[in-house]
């Protein structure tokens, strides 16, 4: 669990000050990263263009109703006037007051119709990415698309990397329960339903990181199932693609990382795949998460250190300072910073070590053997592996080489 001191901003005087000078601050402060009113791509923009007038109409109607009720309260309060005439209504008035809302809604309906079908278009897709939800992280799988330089499938997790200005089609599904994919700045949500494939179009205008969150209740760690979409320029995206496909580089003999590799082979490879990793006897190490994890998948760690987050984007791989450096980077510089990945100086060792020490303690997961009878002993999430601190040292050193 991230350790935060209790004196953080929400209770501190700053929040009171902030609310005091509300409007002033509102204009310059940054809204929450999942703000739904700040579209950063054409799909979200289309939604926003539709919803702004609807909100306005709703607001106006609300004000009218409030004003009428308020006026009646003030004007017709009992001041000793006689009991009024027992009128039973004025049909003409009522019919017209029924027709007006109907007309307003008819107009809204027409625009809604158009937007729904526009948003559902898939025929001009430029890049396809498969997205699979499972408890409690997302897997991204880039199928072979030679025009993007993707010549072998790329499998990643946590952060969705996509080129800007490109009509990207997500093909979503799930391996266990229903999840929902949502990057508010880029588009609305779409549920990832096991046994079905749903599509969602994303397109980002500018390089940057866009925050998102799983929004269908999916069990214990639903709150900790986040995601981030990373938009890169075409050139940077090409670099990213090339790096993801680069061959595995085993750590040099005699290093701590090399020892870590063997711990990894012992402990981790039964669930986690690192492509190109070989056992001591020279055979390829193939993970079999389906024998260990109920959903049948664990994150592919081949290029772990090219991502900024881990464990369903619950934790940062980067220290806060380094992460801010990436998140706050100017559009032009963003790609380079992101592609820099994670190095030792920037690694958020605390959270990573805590994760390796006892994952279920820092992220609620069904890793308690007593609750695994229904799953034939398979874990939901990553179990506590009981590693020694020195094994953890070695593993961290090894994981740092996975770039």
């Amino acid at each position: 669990m991230k350790v935060r001191r209790l004196t953080s901003r929400y209770l501190g005087p700053r929040s009171l000050a902030a609310s005091g000078s509300l409007l002033l601050l509102a204009s310059c402060a940054t809204n929450a990263p999942q703000d739904t009113w700040q579209p950063k791509g054409p799909n979200a923009k289309m939604i926003d263009d539709l919803q702004q007038p609807v909100f306005a109409v709703a607001g106006i109607i609300g004000i009218i109703v409030a004003a009428c009720v308020g006026f009646a309260i003030w004007r017709y309060k009992d001041r000793g006037q006689p009991i009024p005439e027992q009128t039973h209504g004025k049909p003409a008035l009522e019919v017209s007051l029924t027709v007006i809302p109907a007309l307003i809604l008819a107009v809204v309906g027409v625009f809604t119709f158009r937007a729904i079908f526009d948003l559902a278009r898939t025929d001009d897709t430029q890049l396809v990415i498969n997205v699979t939800g499972q408890q409690w992280w997302w897997e991204y799988d880039y199928p072979v698309q030679n025009e993007w330089g993707i010549t072998q499938p790329i499998i990643s997790s946590g952060q969705l990397v996509l080129p800007i200005g490109t009509k990207v089609l997500l093909r979503e599904t799930s391996r266990d329960v229903i999840h929902s994919y949502w990057i508010p700045a880029l588009n609305g949500k779409r549920d990832a339903v096991p046994g079905r494939v749903h599509t969602l179009r994303l397109q980002a205008d500018a390089p940057g990181i866009y925050a998102g969150q799983c929004t269908e209740f999916c069990g214990l760690s639903h709150a900790n199932m986040r995601m981030e979409a990373v938009a890169l320029s075409d050139a940077d995206f090409a670099k990213w693609v090339a790096n993801q496909q680069a061959a595995y580089q085993a750590p040099a003999e005699g290093t701590l990382a090399k020892e870590g590799e063997s711990v990894f082979l012992n402990q981790c490879v039964r669930c986690h795949q690192v492509s190109g990793l070989k056992r001591a006897d020279g055979s390829l190490a193939i993970a079999a998460p389906d024998e260990n994890v109920w959903s049948g998948a664990a994150p592919n760690l081949t290029k772990l250190m090219t991502r900024n987050t881990f464990a369903g984007a619950m934790f940062n791989l980067l220290r806060d300072a380094c992460r801010d450096d990436v998140w706050r980077a100017e559009s032009a510089a963003f790609g380079e910073k992101y592609l820099g990945g994670v190095d030792e100086s920037c690694l958020n060792v605390n959270d990573l070590r805590a994760w390796l020490r006892n994952a279920p303690e820092v992220k609620p997961m069904y890793a308690n053997p007593a609750l695994l009878t229904d799953t034939n002993g398979k874990y939901r999430g990553m179990p506590n592996l009981g590693l020694s601190e020195s094994d953890i040292d070695k593993l961290v050193a090894y994981l740092l080489t996975l770039k």
């Binding site: 601050l25 402060a29 940054t30 119709f113 229903i178 046994g195 079905r196």
Partner: protein, 667 residues
């Protein structure tokens, strides 16, 4: 008591359990003597009196309101600060599931059922409902269901799948505790209460109206509750199917939601929401009915556009069947379905708008008296409108894909549910309390109650609009500062406000509870007609006699009672009083029916209802127990079927010559 012999008032009949009963109790198949007590706890356990049953519904529902409210407060405490530590993830998930289940199924629905039970027969000028024993059975089912659902807390953890319990997350693999089993079976049992209640009340309304009371002279509360009963009649079986599928899957290995076997999880969503959407109108329409009673009374004017209100109520009920998939806009239905359901949903704003407009116009030109009941009614107009308008923003499907499963939705439904349903019920409490208990709730405490609730409710749920639009998803046991943002709209601040608001709200409700106690202890009796009311239920004593009316009134007007008290001045068109309530009542008393046969109490509804939770426990734990439960049920049905609704004919005097004297009730 089966027979009421004038002039003996009911309450004077001595009824110690041992004392000889006033009638010959017929023997019901040798086993048990017919219960006849009319006071003491037995008179409640075995009662078939619609008023007693209504009160029991109300008391139980109020209890569950506090339970659900405490759950809500725990939720808010957990969310007051980032990385909250009050509850862990597992408990939190149980908490919001049970909060919603409790509030929806164990508070609002039964509270409305309580009012319906108590007031529909009174409002239509009947002596009881059509099937009094089934009525009692319904209450015990509701209680049994509520107990079963909550029992899970003590037996390994409550249900944790969210109140709409989406598959496959509700399957045995993903929710290994028994919580969901208890939930499904408990709701099933509570569902029986709603279904039997629906049939009972519809028949009552169709068949047992006082002479002259045509459908279009019925009070609006009765009308809207009747619409609700039709919704229940047709919606309960749908959830019944869904719950059976779930139970079969969890307990007997059926595959309905097993994706590996090819199941489609969307099936559950459809079944749930086909029930679930009509359900939300089940929750709101009784409150609409209550304020449609309260507003005219305190505006001293008839409801503006009565037929419009009635027909729009029916229209809401009807259109409400065609919109369920608006809860599934992000589920991947495909654009055609989404578009159709989106537009259908918008259509529902029209009849609802009719109501808002008519209430406003009822107040317009009136003589408004701001009693607490009236305050709650006016509060409902404003708060419900806010919730309804955010509902319209959801109905625009593309924007809903940004809003769904965020706190913006939570804001919507608490405005309509709390600002709508709950406010309506509170208006009902204050309005009808003197009728039910013969004492007026304290108006000063009522005022505190109202203002704390209004302020608390806006502090709690208002910020949720911001939270949701800032992207805070619902059902998160923790939120993180990393995604809180800064400035005016920051999530941290507004979460804190909402949590503080929930405490203000708690105070408000505490004032209500205090008010009940204060009122119960006060010795001041309410006047016969404290509000200068308009409808038939006020043409009885406070509280009404067991047989409701001494003689069944002949109805000539909508607002019959008002028209017996007032006459229009032909010149000024204002109203002038011609009779007091006491005089009107005395008139009824003068023409009192000589013999009134009321249905007799019975053991069987209770026995039958006890069997069902036993079966439920058996399904979860052991077949033997279920079989025992089955036998209890069979035994009860056997006894019931052979028991006459009223004690056997030989117990009665010669049949009355006055047609109205004989009750038309059935078992």
């Amino acid at each position: 008591m089966a027979i009421i012999e004038r002039p003996t008032p009911v309450l004077d009949i001595p009824a110690l359990p041992a004392a000889p009963p006033a009638i010959t109790p017929s023997r019901t198949f040798g086993a048990l003597k017919r219960p006849v007590a009319s006071t003491g706890w037995k008179s409640w356990l075995f009662t078939v009196d619609h008023k007693k049953i209504g009160l029991m519904y109300g008391a139980t529902a109020l209890f569950f309101f506090i339970v659900g409210g405490l759950e809500a407060v725990l939720i808010r405490l957990q969310l007051a600060a980032p990385e909250g530590k009050v509850l862990n993830a597992d408990l939190y998930n149980q908490m919001f599931t049970m909060h919603a289940t409790t509030m929806v199924f164990l508070f609002v629905m039964p509270m409305a059922a309580g009012f319906a039970n108590y007031f529909i027969p009174l409002q239509i000028g009947a002596r009881d409902v059509a099937f009094p024993r089934i009525n009692a059975f319904g209450f015990w089912c509701f209680l049994g269901g509520g107990i079963v659902i909550n029992l899970a807390w003590f037996l390994g953890g409550a249900a944790d799948g969210g109140w709409f319990m989406y598959a496959p997350n509700s399957g045995p693999v993903f929710s290994p505790s028994n919580g969901i089993d208890f939930w499904a079976l408990g709701l099933q049992i509570a569902g029986i209460a709603s279904l039997t209640g629906a049939i009972n009340l519809i028949v009552t309304v169709l068949n047992m109206r006082a002479p002259g009371m045509s459908l279009m002279k019925m009070p609006v509360f009765t009308w809207l509750v009747t619409v609700v009963q039709f919704l229940l009649l047709f919606a309960i079986p749908v959830i019944t199917v869904a719950l059976f599928l779930l139970t079969f899957q969890r307990s007997f290995g059926a595959q309905f939601f097993d994706v590996a076997a090819g199941a489609d999880p969307l099936l559950w969503q459809h079944l749930f929401w086909i029930f679930g959407h009509p359900e939300v109108y089940v929750l709101i329409l009784p409150s609409f009915g209550i304020v449609s009673e309260v507003l005219p009374v305190f505006s001293r004017k008839p409801l503006f556009g009565y037929p419009f209100v009635v027909f729009s109520g029916a229209a809401i009920g009807f259109v409400g069947w065609g919109v369920w998939a608006h809860h599934m806009f992000a589920s991947g239905l495909g654009p055609v379905s989404v578009a159709v359901f989106s537009v259908a949903t918008m259509a529902i704003a029209v009849p609802t708008g009719v109501k808002i407009i008519n209430w406003t116009l009822t107040m317009w030109g009136g003589k408004l008296v701001f009693s607490t009941a009236m305050k709650f009614a006016v509060g409902l107009i404003l708060l419900f409108t806010i919730g309804g308008l955010s509902g319209v923003t959801h109905s625009v499907a593309p924007s809903d894909t940004q809003q769904t499963d965020t706190y913006y939705i939570v804001a919507h439904f608490h405005y309509v549910l709390f600002g709508g349903s709950v406010f309506g019920l509170f208006a009902g409490f204050y309005y009808w309390w003197p009728k039910m208990f013969g004492k007026l709730l304290n108006e000063r405490l009522g005022s505190l109650n109202f203002w704390f609730m209004v302020i608390g409710m806006n502090l709690t749920f208002g910020p949720m609009h911001i939270l949701g639009l800032q992207g805070q998803p619902r059902r998160m046991y923790q939120w993180t500062e990393a995604r809180a943002g800064e400035g005016f709209f920051n999530i941290a601040f507004w979460n804190l406000v909402a949590s503080i608001g929930s405490l203000v709200l708690t105070l408000g409700i505490l004032f209500f509870l205090i008010n009940i106690v204060v009122t119960a202890r006060s010795k001041v009796r309410a006047p016969l007609d404290p509000w200068n009311a308009r409808s038939l239920e006020w043409m009885t004593s406070n509280p009404p006699k067991e047989h409701n009316f001494d003689s069944i009134p002949k109805v000539e007007h909508l607002d019959e009672f008002f028209h017996r008290k007032y006459e229009e001045d032909p010149v000024t068109h204002t109203m002038r009083g011609v009779a007091t309530a006491e005089q009107v009542l005395a008139e009824l008393e003068r023409n009192a029916d000589p013999h009134i046969h009321m249905p007799s109490p019975s053991y069987w509804p209770l026995v039958l209802a006890v069997g069902l939770p036993v079966i439920a426990l058996g399904v979860i734990y052991s077949t033997m127990v279920a079989i025992v439960g089955g036998f209890i049920v069979l035994y009860a049905i056997y006894g019931w079927a052979l028991e006459p609704a009223t004690a056997v004919a030989s117990d009665f005097d010669t049949p009355s010559t006055n047609g109205h004297a004989v009750s038309t009730t059935h078992g």
